[in-house]
Symmetry: C2
Amino acid sequence: MSWNDSTFKDKKVITIGTVSELTGLSERQIRYYEERKLIFPLRSQSGIRKYSFNDIEELIEIANHIEDGVWTNEIKKEMRRRDALRPSL
Amino acid sequence: MSWNDSTFKDKKVITIGTVSELTGLSERQIRYYEERKLIFPLRSQSGIRKYSFNDIEELIEIANHIEDGVWTNEIKKEMRRRDALRPSL
DNA sequence: CGTGTAAGGAATTCTGACACG
DNA sequence: CGTGTAAGGAATTCTGACACG
């Protein structure tokens, strides 16, 4: 019933259509980035994807990288590097 | 593309089914509280209701009042009283 | 490689109404 | 008064595939 404020950003409750509006990305792009293991939406029982505000921010970063000509493959590597640097956060 | 953190709670992006899961209220109840002017979801172009985390917290408060036997009518009055007390916030 | 699109089906949401109390 | 439900329709989302390059 109540969350500490910092948790709102992590609550996966937003539907793909809304994410598309918020980011300007097509649903096709958003699903593709998931296929490439760059983003991990929650799934409802019936299979509907749910994203958090954090996911939205990551999607924008991913899209920016791709616009710069970076492959999803490289983005994935960069993510792993970043995660390795801050193991406790 | 980017929001200051305090804004997340106010972004109306959550669908009624998810709100129902999060609050434990039925969709019927949630729509009824809107009919009684206690809650004000955003509407997508096609008419789909979108709620914020703040709305969810308010819904829980409303439901608690009703469980205590308070009428929506009274809850509305209380809301007006509260709003009048902090005009600048 | 990253993205668009048409295809068919399943799940979601909407409104107005009848019911109970 | 507040809430449940069945009804019919409209909008959303899902997957797998073909296309282009």
